[in-house]
């Protein structure tokens, strides 16, 4: 068993960050979204009817992206940029006698890597949303972009921040943005409930993160990345101190919450109640990868316990499989994509766990693009078909004029998601699986095979969507809602993408699906292109044998520490296990990966394009057999995780709360407090007859009182005399 434990002493030092206040212009990347948020809030307050909020947002985010690009080209080495003092004070001069969490930025390659796709995708999706949300102009439009700006600000703070408290600020901030945007359509109880669920489940993870932060402070006396890494570089923390070893597990909990891993994954599918651009940006591309960022950023600290990374790997692998199985049985397109997101995040955690931060981060990048693309296409469909997302009620959209771009970009997304050979995701997923399969640890190799199996499932359910929705004979039913579709916009769209007359007859209410216009189509195309482009590092590595850009980016940061060493270590032991299925590891994996991907697609093709009936027949056949029927049932019901949580946690707590509430009112207040208060009344009642109003009663009391006093006095005096 390879403990990263032992590797600790061999750590090469993380490059020490220099303090560079002159780089404070990068802070504009933080400030601009915040200013835009203020502007959007003003738009909201002034009830602006137009698209001013969208324009402000797009401009701000684009500028922010520009700044990051400039910072990328200006980058020379890790820097720390102080901005202003935030949460800091001191009570002594010692190391542990001050608490410092200033507003500042820590810029290294990992930061830039993350910020590039966060701001870039943010800009693109804002453009998309400016058209997508136009039905809400004057109602919630500005509020929507306010949420987006808050999200971008928080995400930037999360990534750029130079200490863990800044990260925590961003961490909770993105949670807030997610809450506000999921519940954007606040009149729908489901949306509100989903937002609430997301926030609360994230909070559970946040608690872990907060405790982890405390533990780090308690043991290192600082929360600044640079100082933490410096402390790590010094090494020496090799003693098995439970406090140190618990740090990675606490941080991990935060990451699991934010990135929707077992056991905190159930909020993400529900989060699809939000508008689709939100799902694309927050719940697919950026926010959910914050967990990956956290683990990558704090990677050295995950080696404080030998099993920490293994736990990450196992959780990731199992989540990938579980989510994929659920995704196979869902009919709602966005939910399928949501589960696929969870599943892909599982891959990333698997990659982190088995020691390839590069693979995980690269997969994050590719995933951001193709998953955003997929969600946006789903959004376009939802937008056009009045909220219809049931893949059984949509078919053959590629035949519909005006929907070709959507169909084909969706195909790109699906190919990428199913890791079709030589797509970007193929390279990134390979990087993860290769690491797993060539690991010295048997359980990691098992996880690798599990990941491969999951890849086949992924290919299947991805193309199940595409073959159902875009291929096959043309057929569709509109959805129930048209809530953000004022009627006049319909006619406007008709000129753009005119539906065939035959379609009108097919749809029940003479429904005209309105095809997306330039903003949506343009963004889809750019994203598809982006999905191609992010494959370039992979091509370079595989074919041109050049340096992988992504790997360089990751290697320059704290994330590489463990990964690099583990890789060395892996190379050393891969002498013993050089092969996958008897072939060279790379080749073998390519073969197996291709098989899985293409096999999955073929199965999907058979069941969902060639003979769609057979899918139902298969399901019926499974349901008939008692020994296997639990599989489809559980898959369709999401393995009853929500129900189990409800029964195990929510319900007992709720009952307990009811009991406490009742007890508080009737026991603690009623019996204890009021009872105590009634005691004097009860005593008083004994003497009440004396005070019935008759004069003698009062006189008798007086006489009795005097008698008592005299008795007491004489007793005291007698004692004094004797």
């Amino acid at each position: 068993m390879v403990g990263s434990w032992r590797i600790m002493t061999q750590l090469t030092s993380i490059p020490q960050a220099i303090i560079a206040p002159e780089l404070s212009w990068v802070g504009l990347a933080l400030l601009l979204p915040l200013l835009a948020a203020v502007a959007c809030a003003l738009c909201c307050a002034l009830r602006v009817k137009g698209k001013a909020a969208a324009i402000i947002t797009i401009l701000a985010l684009a500028a922010s992206f520009g700044i990051i690009v400039k910072a990328y080209f200006a980058y020379t080495g890790p820097v720390q940029v102080p901005i202003f003092q935030w949460l800091s004070f001191q009570w002594g001069t010692g190391q542990f006698q001050s608490f410092t969490a200033n507003c500042g930025m820590y810029i290294d390659t990992l930061t830039l890597y993350w910020m590039l796709f966060v701001t870039g995708l943010g800009t693109l999706i804002s453009i998309y949303a400016s058209e997508y949300m136009e039905g809400d102009c004057g109602a919630g439009y500005s509020r929507f972009f306010f949420g987006i700006c808050i999200f971008l600000f928080s995400m930037s703070a999360l990534v750029l921040g130079d200490n863990l408290i800044m990260l925590y600020l961003g961490w909770e901030g993105v949670g807030l943005a997610s809450y506000l945007l999921i519940g954007y359509d606040y009149a729908r109880p489901a949306a509100v409930a989903a937002g609430k669920k997301a926030f609360i489940m994230n909070r559970i993870g946040d608690l872990g993160l907060a405790l982890g932060i405390f533990m780090l402070w308690a043991n290192y006396g600082t929360l600044q990345y640079s100082e933490l890494f410096a402390a790590m570089n010094k090494g020496g923390q090799t003693s098995v101190d439970w406090e140190l070893s618990v740090i990675p597990f606490l941080l991990m909990l935060g990451a699991f919450g934010k990135s929707a891993q077992i056991p905190l994954f159930t909020w993400l599918p529900d989060a699809m109640e939000g508008p689709t651009p939100v799902s694309a940006l927050i719940h697919a591309a950026t926010m959910v990868t914050a967990g990956v960022y956290l683990i990558a950023r704090m990677y050295p600290f995950f080696e404080l316990h030998p099993e920490a990374l293994a736990t990450v790997a196992w959780i990731g692998g199992l989540t990938a499989l579980l989510a994929a199985t659920i995704g196979m049985a869902q009919y709602d397109i966005k939910r399928v994509f949501a589960y696929s997101t969870i599943s892909q995040l599982g891959y990333m955690f698997l990659g982190l766990g088995v020691g390839t931060t590069f693979g995980a981060c690269y997969h994050t990048l590719t995933h951001a693009f193709f998953k955003a693309l997929l969600f946006l296409t789903a959004g376009a469909i939802m937008h056009g078909f009045a909220g219809q997302l049931d893949l059984r009620r949509l078919s053959g959209l590629r035949h519909l004029p005006g929907w070709r771009i959507v169909s084909w970009t969706m195909l790109v997304g699906c190919l990428w998601l199913s890791a079709f050979p030589y797509t970007a995701a193929f390279f990134s997923k390979d990087a993860i699986l290769l690491k797993a399969l060539t690991s010295v640890r048997a359980d990691f190799r098992f996880l690798g095979w599990l990941g491969l199996f999951t890849a086949a499932l992924t290919a299947y359910y991805t193309f199940r969507v595409w073959f159902r929705v875009c291929a096959g004979p043309l057929h569709f039913e509109p959805g129930a809602e048209g809530h953000h579709e004022p009627h006049d916009t319909h006619d406007k769209h008709d000129t753009h993408g005119k539906p065939a007359p035959a379609l009108a007859a097919k749809s029940t209410h003479a429904f005209h699906p309105h095809a997306p216009r330039w903003a949506i189509n343009g963004v889809l195309l750019i994203l598809a292109l982006g999905a191609l482009v992010v494959g370039i590092p992979g091509y370079n590595e595989t074919f041109a044998h050049k340096d992988n850009w992504a790997q360089q980016m990751i290697a320059g940061s704290s994330a590489m520490e463990g990964a690099g060493l583990a890789e060395d270590h892996g190379a050393e032991v891969s002498e013993a296990h050089p092969t996958v299925l008897g072939m060279d590891a790379h080749t073998g994996l390519t073969v197996v990966g291709c098989t899985a991907s293409i096999g999955g697609i073929l199965v999907a093709w058979y069941f969902h394009l060639r003979s769609r009936k057979s899918a139902d027949q298969l399901r019926a056949a499974l349901l008939r057999r008692w020994w296997i029927r639990w599989v489809p049932i559980c898959m369709e019901n999401k393995w009853y995780v929500d129900e189990i949580y409800h029964a195990c946690f929510r319900l007992p707590m709720w009952l307990g709360a009811q009991i406490l509430s009742f007890g508080d009112r009737h026991f603690l207040d009623g019996v204890m407090v009021d009872g105590l208060a009634k005691l004097p009344v009860a005593v008083g009642k004994i003497f009440k007859p004396l005070y019935g109003g008759a004069l003698q009663g009062y006189a008798a009391t007086m006489a009795g009182g005097i008698a008592l006093v005299v008795a007491w006095l004489s007793w005291v005096w007698l004692r004094g005399f004797n």
Binding site: G94, G173, A187, G656
Partner: protein, 540 residues
């Protein structure tokens, strides 16, 4: 000095003016009175010399009151009390403006008593003499009781009487302890003196067994006011029945008197007792957090929910205070101010919708984002501040309290050993999750969701002053300063943290050695702490 007395006495002058003047101008007189008070205090704070150095109480001399009992009219501030007094003075005018439409009958009496209330709260924070503090502390009860009993809801009498008797009972313990320490001082020196510093010096010299009881008695007194777990039941009722402004002052200023009392009296005066009982109080605080949070979860009355959330929040505040290290103490003091702002604002928000719908039942009213978007925005903001979202004020205090608790066990390094530790923080941290849960449920019912309104229009018509559907300018003007304060303190806590730090250190000056003594004792006899706990619970 003059400024302090101005801020204390001017409201009383204004109260007389309200009493004499015509009914129509009562509210404006009251507003002006509180504004002058706030202005004087702000001016004082502006020139306050001790913001950044540890100089002890720059202005503490005062004329003698009862010379042979050693009682003086000495007032003065350290940064903590100044912050809390500023908070109270800041909320006063807002509350008065907030009552313009809510109070339509017996307005003169209302504003008069409200001014007296403000004055006595500031007096309690400003007092440098223990008896003067007691007078301010206790006198708050009179106007508050009247405000609840006259202007409150349907069960106002019961609520007012319960509040009065309960808190009065608690403060009797406090007074007795103060007198006892004064007596000890007289035994030692030969003359009475109730100067707080003198008392502190005297009390710290008492044997630890005596300090144990001194601390316990103080705790009983202040725990009622805070309120700490088993002694909290007066609060939800009082909040539920009080008029909006009364709730605001009750939650924001009066409850702070309890925590402030711990900061100023219980902890520094009886460090040995504090060290002995810190885990006990911490356990109570944690129970308060979890218990109140769970109860919040099933509340349908918006005001009661906020009231119980106060119990939970102040439990966290107490936990931070009893972590007995600078991080926790800073957090606790910061939290006192923040809780005042955010909870006060929440009460104001709820009052505003109550004025329109005449119900606080979240099962009856809901989905108001559609009807009252401006109100909804404020409500969401303050709720988030209350949840402790980073970037807003609630976070700083909450995080530091929890952090202080967490690192309490870490001996030596911080210079402040303690007996709490990660496990305390873990359990208390559950409160953070619960806080998000119940407050978001409140938001989900009240702000989001489909619009639900009670159908009886009678409620609307009977209201003396017709209010617009969404907030009017006056109401926005009330909430905006609070919102600005919430955001500002969340973004720029540094000046305040720096100001609190020396005070926190001074409060904890005796603790490192006392806690070490306690730890060495309990290390010798493992059951000591448990015995201590059972003794204490019996004592209560």
């Amino acid at each position: 000095m003059l400024l302090i007395w101005t801020s204390i006495l001017f409201p009383i002058v204004a109260a007389f003016a309200v009493a004499i003047g015509p009914t129509k101008s009562a509210k404006w007189t009251a507003f002006a009175g509180t504004l002058v008070s706030l202005g004087a205090l702000t001016l004082f704070a502006w020139n306050f010399p001790a913001w950044h150095n540890a100089e002890h109480f720059p202005n503490t001399t005062g004329p003698s009151w009862i010379p042979h009992a050693g009682i003086t009219f000495s007032v003065g501030f350290d940064t903590v009390s100044l912050l809390l007094a500023l908070l109270s003075a800041f909320l006063m005018p807002l509350c008065i403006v907030g009552s313009f439409s809510a109070i339509t009958e017996r307005t003169k009496e209302y504003y008069g008593w409200f001014l007296v209330l403000g004055s006595s709260i500031i007096l309690a924070f400003a007092a440098r003499d223990a008896i003067l503090f007691y007078i301010g502390y206790e006198f708050t009860l009179v106007p508050m009781t009247l405000i609840i009993a006259i202007y409150g809801g349907t069960e106002r009498r019961v609520a007012a009487i319960k509040m009065f008797l309960y808190t009065f009972l608690g403060s009797m313990f406090m007074l007795a302890t103060l007198l006892y320490i004064g007596w000890e001082h007289r035994l030692a020196v030969g003359a009475w003196d109730f100067d707080i510093d003198t008392l502190t010096k005297t009390a710290t010299r008492l044997p630890s067994s005596t300090q144990y009881w001194v601390f316990a008695a103080f705790m009983v007194g202040f725990a009622v006011k805070v309120p700490l777990f088993p002694l909290h039941t007066w609060l939800p009722l009082a909040h539920d029945q009080a008029p909006t402004a009364g709730s605001v002052i009750l939650a924001s200023a009066m409850l702070k008197l309890g925590t402030y009392g711990n900061y100023r009296f219980a902890l520094p005066m009886a460090p040995a007792g504090g060290a002995d009982l810190m885990s006990f109080v911490a356990v109570l605080a944690i129970i308060a957090i979890i218990y109140a949070s769970l109860i919040c979860w099933v509340q349908t009355d918006a005001k009661k929910l906020i009231a119980y959330s106060s119990v939970a929040h102040l439990g966290l505040c107490m936990l931070g205070l009893f972590a007995l290290n600078p991080v926790g103490a800073e957090g606790a003091v910061f939290y006192m101010v923040n809780h005042g702002l955010s909870t006060g604002a929440l009460f104001l928000c709820i009052g505003m919708f109550y004025e329109r719908y005449h119900t606080k039942d979240t099962d009856v009213v809901g989905g108001l984002a559609k009807r009252m978007p401006v109100w909804a925005s404020f409500m969401v903001l303050f709720t988030l501040a209350s949840i402790g979202l980073p970037g807003l004020n609630g976070f700083i205090g909450e995080f530091l309290c929890l952090g202080g608790t967490f690192i309490s066990e870490h001996d030596g390094q911080t210079g402040y050993p303690g007996v709490l530790g990660p496990w305390y923080a873990v359990v208390a941290g559950l409160g953070l999750i619960f806080a998000a849960m119940y407050l978001l449920i409140l938001l989900g019912k009240l702000v989001w969701g489909p619009l639900r309104e009670p159908h009886d229009d009678a409620a609307h018509t009977t209201s003396a002053i017709r209010l617009p559907q969404d907030l009017c300018f006056r109401e926005i003007a009330i909430l905006t300063p609070l919102a600005v304060a919430c955001i500002w303190l969340g973004v720029q806590p540094k000046p305040m943290l720096d100001a609190i730090a020396p005070c926190a250190e001074r409060m904890l000056a005796n603790y490192p050695k006392e806690v070490e003594r306690y730890m060495s004792q309990s290390a010798g006899t493992p059951l000591a702490s448990i015995n201590g706990k059972t003794n204490e619970s019996r004592g209560e």
